[in-house]
Symmetry: C2
Subunit: 141 residues, 2 copies
Amino acid sequence: MKNNNALYLISRIREAANRFIVQELEANGIKGVVPSHGDILVVLYACEKCTMKELAQKIHRTKATLTVLVDKLIALKLIEKEKSSQDNRVTYIRLTPLGESYKGVFEKISCELNNLLFKDFSEEETKTLVTLLEKTRANIE
Amino acid sequence: MKNNNALYLISRIREAANRFIVQELEANGIKGVVPSHGDILVVLYACEKCTMKELAQKIHRTKATLTVLVDKLIALKLIEKEKSSQDNRVTYIRLTPLGESYKGVFEKISCELNNLLFKDFSEEETKTLVTLLEKTRANIE
DNA sequence: TTATTATAGTTCGATATCTAACTATTGTCA
DNA sequence: TGACAATAGTTAGATATCGAACTATAATAA
C-alpha cells in the first residue's frame, strides 16, 4: 500500500490547473492576475464586503501575503478598501464595478477548467474522486 | 457534474503535505530545506550524477529556479557541482557524503507521509484514487 | 573555415509567499 | 480608570519562482 505517487499527481494537476487559469484569464484580456488573485475575487463574488482577516482565512494565505495581493488588485482597479466606521482597526475589501464586470469570465473559466479536468469522468467517478480526496485531506489537515 | 471542489481539495492536500515535510525535516535536524530541495535530493538518491538541465526537468522547475535551489543546497553542503570534461557547457550535480547521509531520513519521511495521507485506505481505494488522479492529469497536461 | 544556429547554465527584475516585528486600535480586569 | 492583553493590518527581510536577456560553448552548414 506504500509508495504510491498520488501526491506527485496532485502536484502536477494543481500546477497544470494554475497554468490553465492564468492562460485563460489572459485570453480574456485579464493580464497580471494569478490564481491567488482569482481566489480573492471569487470570494468577493460571493461575499460583497469582507475584512482582510476573513479574506486571508478564506483564501488560506497569511495577512501579510494578502496585503500584497490586495495592493496588486487595487492597482488593477478591481477592488477597493474601505475603513470600518465601527472599528478603526478593520478594513473592508469590496469589488469595484470593473472587478464585478469580470464575474462572468471567472465563472466561465472555473467551469471550463472543471469540464476539462473531468471531461471523461462518469458521475460516479467524480463522486468517488471527491470522496477519496476528502478522506485524504481529513487525514493530513 | 459541474462545480465539484476536487481542485480545492487538491490544493489543500498539497499544502498540508508540504507543511508536513518541512516539519518532519526540521524534527530530524534538517533546517532550511523546503520540498523543492527535497525533490532535488530524492532525484539524486536515484541518479547519482545529473546535469542541471535533467534535474530541472525532473523536478518540474525552470533552469533559473534550479540555479537558486542548487546554490542553497551547496551552501548547506548537501550537494556539489562538477564541470563536465566532455562538454564545457554542462555542469553535473552530485550528493556530498553529508547529502547521502540523509537518504534514510528522506525515505522515512516520504513513507510516513504516505502512511498518514492514506492511513485508512483499503488497497482498492488507494488504487482507485491513483487511477482517477492519473486520468485527471492526462486531461489537463 | 567561418558564420549561423542550438544548447547549458546564470543573471536580472518582478512577484507570491512566509515569519517576525511593528503600529494602531479595542477589550478586559483589577 | 489605567495597565495589560488581544486583535487588525502593515512593513521588513528572506526565499522560491518565473520569463527574458545574457554568456559561453558546441554543432552545423555553406
